[in-house]
Amino acid sequence: MTTKRKFVGRSVPRIEDRPLLTGQGRYAADISFPGQWHMRIVRSHGAHGIIRAIDAKAALALPGVHAVWTHNEVAHLPPIGFRLTGLVALEPYRQTILAQRYVRYVGEPVAAVFAADAYLVEDAAELVALDIEPLPVVLDAAERPGPFDAERSTEASIIEKSSGDIDAAFRAAHTVVELDLAIGRHSGVPLETRGAIARYDETKDVLEMHGAAKVPHWNRDRLALMLGREPGKVQLYEGHVGGGFGIRGELYPEDVLVCAAALAFKKPIKWIEDRREHLIAANHSRQQRHKVRAAIDAEGHILGIDNEFFHDNGAYMRTHAATVPDLAAAMLPGPYRVPAYRARGHIRLTNKTPCGTYRSPGRYETTFVRERLIDAIAAKTGIDAIEIRRRNLIDKSAMPYSLGFGTLGTDIIYDSGDYARLMERLLTAADWRAMRQETARRRANGETVGAGFAMFVEKSGLGPFDKVRIEVTAGGTIELITGVASIGQGVETVLAQICGETLGIDYTRVKVVHGQTDRIDRGMGAFASRVTVMCGEATRLAAVRLRDAILSAAAQLLQTPADRLDIIDGEAVRTGGPGPSISLAELAAAPGTLSAEAEFKSNHMVYPYGAHVAQLKLDRETGAAVIERYLVAYDVGRAVNPMLVEGQILGGVAQGLGGALLEEFAYAESGDPLSVTFADYLMPTAHEMPFVEILLSEDAPSPLNPYGFKGAGEGGITPVGAVIASAIDDALQCPGAVTQLPITPQRLKAILGNLARP
């Protein structure tokens, strides 16, 4: 007799791969409908100004051009609302669907052109003449705020979080360490640009939008609200999605435009973004400046951290509202005991592309700040930085550990973790002592090499719920329907593994349906490393119910009590011996449907944690950094598919290195964006990527779900800026040399130049 097969914890191949490898993927640009019109956005060429005139005559005169819309045509549509962390104070700063009177960044949609052909519509858009009277620009969020409009300044709001008595901590301090740090402007930059195709089905009175991603249900509800339609009369369809990373799938003006136009013209409307547009129009992220102080005692224990920071949100508040600065304020303390804490974050607007989240929002930034601070404490006290960490790490006996404030509508309570153990394991894996000795020896021989270390706490598994329905299809395969989304991370495989193991069927026989709003009424989508945690447990719950239903149906047909039956490889069989059996296909053919539904609810996030080590060599001539060794230790509680978790970590490290060394949305003094192609916005290639050694840890399963899952999507990127800065300091033997990311060759040369001066 065969035994039940385990899938959770195994690195099985992905069920997603085959169509993607054979060219059968269906990405946004692959969707077309007969008779479709193409849309092209006319974007502001000025960073700040008043629109004096828009002349579309020449564009409209081209044969095949159907219409040009400006704000007048969409004036009845409200701005897009906030999906997360929506503060009322931020609402006046939302972006209208097309610019109304003012433009506030280069790339802002001013007009939309509709034409029969994708080439023609670009020709036509180039003929739309914009007369924009320039206004002064605000480009530095840490400088004095300027006017946003007649009533409001560019300081939209202030985020404050605190715990303990911060003033007492600084009064009691033996030493105060103070830093002024800046994180550059980066973003997710998925390889597939955005796209949206809307179609109005008159016979059913249903508006469809294809090319949805990340949060299809929220976007469906919001589009319905904006367009004045019943939610059931708007349906969103997610195809394959060419990368997400936080920025893709949020509701953008272009999505609303294709929908409104499909309703107005009764034609399918297709919009595919080009790369230049993507780099100036899709959400940016990250850019912050932190003025941080730590109060410490004589032994290097942290007594308090006081942080004032300036968050550059670009020209408007988009769907994420205060999410990134809120997370920055909330997650700065990381794995350390901080008895007194105060964060004050200024949400500032500038004349740049508006911002949203990018993988590890708020944590990439503040892990850089916090770990810089730890290194600075070490330098100031003369105590080794690893020892400073040891002295300040939260002990596992303190778990669950509350920070005393919240974020994203949840209290921050670290659910589990043995931070010290993971640190020691990584130091052993890296042979840290030998690495330090060897780099010191090489430095003595004239090389500029160094090693860095950084630690962090991530967050994942944001609720409040996920819902799953599982059905046995007529052919005896399993269909799992959920409102999460896939952005390429392996959602289908992970859910199929959990479902297959719980039910007793091979995971490859589970078909996962996601991102289709007409297949399930509610769904939360894919963000905040939430899918495996939330939808994974919902899947298990639904599979347990379906298993019971299958066994009671089989019990009748096999005339055997259900508690003496099991499901093995898709067949209901008698436990513990030979006897009659029945396949799921046969059961499905019997009267009555076999399906089950379950929701998993959770009001608390779960907190994975990790540490990175980097060893690098600097070229003093070119200013380049070559990573010689890179190690990641990450505790995800329980890994469903270690191969996929490692894949997430590897991808995260690459993006983190981009943000640490290469990637930056630069602007001229006029507010003109300078990073508008892949020749200016430099992302790591296979050359820049070191071999990454991964120590995947399952020391601290979450107590908040039965499997113990924690999300794995972000820990690869979180501390990369921090660890690279630490290693560069070490290579230069100059603590605190790095104060700004990315450390481009130019910046490194500037640091070297300063060091060379007497």
Binding site: P13, T22, G23, G25, H240, A654, Q655, T677, A686
Partner: protein, 159 residues
């Protein structure tokens, strides 16, 4: 805008006779006029390599070539790699080594790697890295792509 002209693209052994403007990119012609959407467009300025196809044995960026320049040439795209249900060793290696996540850059990497290895079976590891560094991937961090290509190279040499 300009006049359309007839061209014949031979894609994966099949002739497609289409009418295109002189400015139409090969990538757009393959996707929109010939319906082979496995070739992806990621940047339209020749950096990312998502649109890489093999033209007369050479991997090329199909966003930087006009369709008219490919008239009469033999073009291979990702749709032509597998032999029926049997995946090409390169495709199989990408699956076995988790060399893809979102899959958008994957066709470009597959065609780049297959094109180079068919031309240069015994390419040195250093040269292979140079080649692979010419395409962008935003999901995988490249490590598993490199692993997959090395595995497939071995398989292709022995096969």
């Amino acid at each position: 805008m300009s006049e359309s002209m007839p061209v014949t693209l031979n894609i994966n052994g099949r002739d497609y006779t289409i009418a295109v403007e002189a400015r139409r990119t090969l990538a757009d012609a393959i996707r929109e006029d010939c319906g082979q959407t496995g070739t992806h467009i990621g940047c339209e300025h020749g950096i990312c390599g998502a649109c890489t196809v093999i033209v007369d044995g050479e991997p090329v960026r199909s966003c930087l070539m006009f369709a008219v320049q490919a008239d009469g040439k033999k073009i291979r795209t990702v749709e032509g790699l597998a032999d029926g249900d049997k995946l090409h060793p390169m495709q199989q290696a990408f699956m076995d080594n988790h060399g893809l996540q979102c899959g958008f850059c994957t066709p470009g990497f597959l065609m780049l790697a297959v094109g180079v290895l068919e031309r240069e079976r015994d390419i040195s590891d250093e040269d292979l890295m140079d080649v692979l560094a010419s395409n962008l991937c935003r999901c995988t961090g490249y490590q598993n792509i490199v692993k997959a290509v090395r595995a497939a190279a071995k398989e292709m040499r022995s096969g």
